[in-house]
Symmetry: C2
Subunit: 635 residues, 2 copies
């Protein structure tokens, strides 16, 4: 049975000048009940799970109901190489959606990632967009939301606890003791849950009753024999805690002799986050979680979460997280918030399931990929679209005069410090020198056969000549269109030109292709990305990386796509190389495997997987008003 | 404006024999929409925040609306010293509620704690009650629920990250650099948020504009000068991860020279959990979070979360967690689930706010305290009731024949191993020898002036003579009544006698008194609990404990109540001493201060604050059915 959507009623912005703070705008906003947002999008009441009045999880059953409905247009929003301040990609994503939905009468849905609480309380602040183009309520968006990242933390660390406890217990038990504990006798024979059945099948032990196992079968099924030196599974927290980057665990009295050095990553870097974003169903997530490799045994064979018996429990911990969360923009258009991987150390895209649901319900789906076109967008195409089978119709490439001036040689831009004068005064020469970065990103998108619309996120300090220069350069370099957006100050009204350009471009045929074939050897795939996307002359591998490539090829992981872990602050691996650098070689320091998520990730140079806190973190300003309970200081 | 409650409609149990597994019963159950449960209790729709169809957070505004309504009867459920299997305290709590609400037509509300996910996936399993006396949906109850424990983890670890980052940054900065960073210049002068205003006030720096601070004032405000050797704030996770009991942090390249040894506790042991349970309003929680002491500076002065500037952000992270979650029993009576401290290493009681809301809405409020009357109940009276000002009307003391036989000298009871025959066959002599434990617990409750009803949680293997012996002994020893309950097998119908006894007892006058006065010196309070509650001959203090007592007295913390960290498996500090031991002295190994929560907690012997996983943890059986998505293996 299909459902007819309720007519869409836009929320009318009550704009003020000068534009107030993000939090002030968000808290002054009118919110539609989330049930109304859902009904306007064509969701049924029984497909929603409300989390308070303004957010709801959407049940995956909707995909079954709308199986036969054609997909809407699929637009990815990416950016040039950003400054550390970000160039307003989420703001543009939201503004474009507001323009399409609240001003042009189109059925639109926005798909964005949930932000990590680490940066929210550390340096970066919130991630709900800005000005009059925001997702609301922004407190909920930036805080726990519906608990998905917490679920990832819980599932990830359960696996970590299982690893160390298992090593300890195996060391102290005979094969027979292990067997008796792993396969305890119940009222109806020995317990034999799915995880153990899968482990037995993998080892070629096909007997249906553990009682019949030979001593050798008992040993090989029950003894994982994990090599402490070859463990790759770390722990995670959604807190910017640099002191957890390197830790020694097992220093308690009862764990003596088993201490080992490991570390914590930020939770959004967890492989489980990547799995969440790439899973296509509950069953697929169960399978992927089981396939995650946590390390090697002493024979050099991969040991998985399935082998540890923990994949079912992780799936149960993640079952609600798999449902996307529905929210709204300031102008009342629907937003799916789901998954939140970083695009430098992870694949940086929101979930396949959110995109799929959105494509069934809306005519235009605006999905955002992280950082520049070299980062989140490349991974969007080569990893996410490869898994989902979805074909995008257009790319919106966000640029700012500020960032292009930086690429042209402008002084360093540092979060929390005042901008140099060159960034707030007209300087066409500096801007012109920075254009190669923009042109390179346009070329990247065109390599995938997808038309590009450049969205210049205009600041009040940009001059008409500067904005015009960027537009003209874009059009000369292969962009289908290039428009200036004022949606930070004006909301959807400020992105009308962009919205119209996107609609026009979506009607043209695209010719989507992947950058590389999965069948190519690991090194060839890495080198294709390095040369074609980053503009490098070649790739150098550390001995560790060479050894990993050999091992992963032996283990059969060489057919996975590549998820480069690279700085987002340069097209190269070196954050100080601005513009469109040439004449550099990419150093691959190490390669890791996310077998459950389904990719290999080479580490290009030093990549921090756990942010830190500055002397005065963002949390200093965050508080409640005692009288009203209102949140202050989130930005 | 008051609201008239909708008439209560009980959910009719569809009982089966033999009693199926807890999860099977729970999943076969009929659930009322939680909005109906709320309406029947007299809550207004706008006082609810739905979290899916079967759970909702309750807004604290309801307390304002019902300010003038008289409180209902207040009944605490406690137990004798349990076996490691637990004696069915939650089951009795739920069954009593079902009897009162679904069978005797009383307006009843149940208040229980949220379980930790550590034990759920480790040894103990779920905590939603059992058989036909459960809180449902039991998967939600045992998993993330509405995210409160995750919020605690996030808030706690943000504070931990702030501590270590601050030590690092202070070491590398001059006083003037620190001042410039902590008080950055904004458009309207230097930022001066509440936390810094409070720190300045504490230090006697009363100037309204940081610009006017003298160099000495800049130094003393901005330099916390934390002593790494005197830090008491650890990190937490809601995972049973024994390898985190002792860890060295700061081993990353960029933290060199700042490594230090610390550890993780289970999240429910966090002081923030204690604060959540004891807070009386959002404002009170803000104050308590700021007052939490994280360590000492090099002068030996206390440094608080307020000093770190992180208390406001912690409050924002905790603002939704402060609202109790509403669920229901198998017979459709309302249940408030809120907070979840363990009663051995923490105070072990659900929240004051949940109890207060329940007392305004119901005629009978059944609240559960953790473990035995020596543990959660003593803390319920001396800590929780002291803060809340609420006066309980009755205590229900749960006993089992099984546990009493163990106290009488029966063989060790071990989770996951079959019970010895003495526990499933009549053995009046063993039972008689165990009775002193029951009688001791009755005496403990009577010391507080509160009448006691003994609830014998009857097992199918208990003989009539055994049950009768327990009843008679209870009555002879000062219990107001003693009844056998069959609610595990029968639901509320099996607790009718208990419910009637509780109603009778609640009509009698009580004479509530605290065990000790706050004005007494620390040692005197500890010794009163040790002698009067545990039956000890006296207390011995380690040199560390003596030093702490001196320091806490100097710092003015000596007027706080005492929260003993003691094994729950014995009335003494030694888990092997069963029955009602005498002739022992209590060793106080150390004392810690939870200044924000508002108590001192002496550690009696070794107390693990982080559980571990066994060789085959409970998670092995937890999975989803691939076809239906149904959860299996939770128990």
């Amino acid at each position: 049975m299909d459902t007819v959507a309720r007519p869409f009623s836009p929320t009318v912005l009550q704009r003020r000048t000068p534009v107030p703070s993000d939090l002030d705008i968000a808290q002054a906003a009118t919110l539609k009940p989330i049930g109304q947002v859902a009904a306007e999008l064509g969701l049924r009441e029984d497909e929603l799970e409300l989390y308070g009045p303004t957010k709801a999880k959407v049940r995956l059953e909707v995909l079954e109901r709308l199986r036969d409905r054609p997909d809407g247009r699929y637009i990815d929003v990416t950016a040039i190489t950003p400054t550390p301040l970000g160039e307003g990609k989420t703001t543009t994503t939201v503004g474009l959606s507001q323009a399409l939905g609240a001003h042009l009468g189109q059925r639109v849905a926005t798909c964005i990632r949930q932000p990590s609480q680490g940066p929210t309380f550390g340096i970066k602040g919130g991630a709900a967009g800005g000005g009059y183009s925001q997702v609301i309520p922004m407190e909920d968006f930036n805080l726990h939301l519906t608990g998905d990242i917490h679920a990832i933390t819980a599932a990830h660390n359960l696996c970590a606890a299982a690893i160390d406890a298992r090593i300890l217990h195996e060391a102290g038990a005979s094969d027979e003791q292990l067997f008796e504990r792993i396969f305890p006798k119940g009222k109806s024979g020995r317990k034999f849950p799915r995880s153990l059945q899968l482990r037995c099948a993998k080892l070629g032990v096909t007997k249906g009753n553990p009682e019949d196992f030979t001593p050798e079968e008992r040993r090989c099924v029950c003894r994982l024999d994990l090599d402490p030196a070859a463990l790759t599974w770390r722990r995670v927290l959604d807190t910017s805690d640099r002191f957890l980057r390197g830790v020694t665990v097992g220093l308690g009295e009862e764990e003596q002799g088993f201490a080992r050095t490991t570390g914590f990553d930020i939770a959004v870097a967890s492989e489980i986050m990547a799995v969440l974003a790439l899973a296509t169903s509950l069953q697929d997530m169960r399978h992927r979680l089981g396939a995650m490799v946590v390390g090697l045994n002493r024979k050099g064979e991969a040991v998985t979460a399935e082998d540890l018996g923990v994949a079912g429990a992780m799936t149960v911990l993640m079952k609600d997280a798999l449902k996307p969360t529905l929210m709204q923009t300031l102008e009342g258009t629907p937003v799916f918030v789901h998954a939140g991987p970083f695009a430098n150390i992870a694949h940086g895209n929101s979930s396949i399931l959110a995109d799929r649901i959105a494509l069934k319900l809306a005519d235009y789906v605006i999905t955002e990929s992280g950082f520049g076109a070299d980062m989140g967008m490349e991974k969007f195409f080569d990893i996410k679209c490869r898994v989902s089978g979805l074909v995008p119709d257009a790319v919106v490439l966000v640029a700012t005069v500020r960032a292009l001036k930086m690429h042209g040689g402008g002084p360093k831009v540092v979060a929390g410090k005042p901008l140099d004068a060159v960034y707030v005064e007209e300087n066409l020469e500096l801007l012109r020198q920075g254009l190669p970065n923009l042109l390179h990103h346009i070329r990247i998108a065109r390599k995938f056969g997808i038309p590009v619309v450049v969205a210049v996120n205009g600041f009040a300090t940009d001059s008409p000549a500067e904005l015009d220069l960027v537009r003209r350069a874009s059009l000369e370099s292969g962009a289908e269109d290039a428009v200036v957006c004022q949606n930070w100050a004006l909301g959807g009204e400020g992105a009308l030109d962009l919205a119209k350009a996107v609609m026009r471009v979506c009607d043209r045929p695209s010719n989507f292709r992947f950058l590389y074939d999965l069948d190519e050897p690991i090194k060839q795939k890495i080198e294709t990305i390095a040369r074609e996307i980053y503009g490098a002359d070649g790739v150098d591998y550390s001995p560790e990386a060479e050894a990993r490539i050999e091992a992963y090829t032996r283990l059969g992981y060489d057919r996975l796509p590549i998820c480069m872990a690279k700085t987002h602050l340069s097209l190269s691996h070196d954050p100080t190389l601005k513009g469109a650098p040439t004449g550099f070689r990419i150093p691959v320091r190490d390669i890791r495997a996310s077998v459950g998520a389904g990719f290999l990730y080479p580490l290009l140079g030093k990549m921090a997987t756990m942010p830190g806190l500055p002397t005065r973190p963002g949390f200093y300003d965050v508080d409640i008003e005692l009288e009203t309970g209102r949140v202050v200081g989130l930005f």
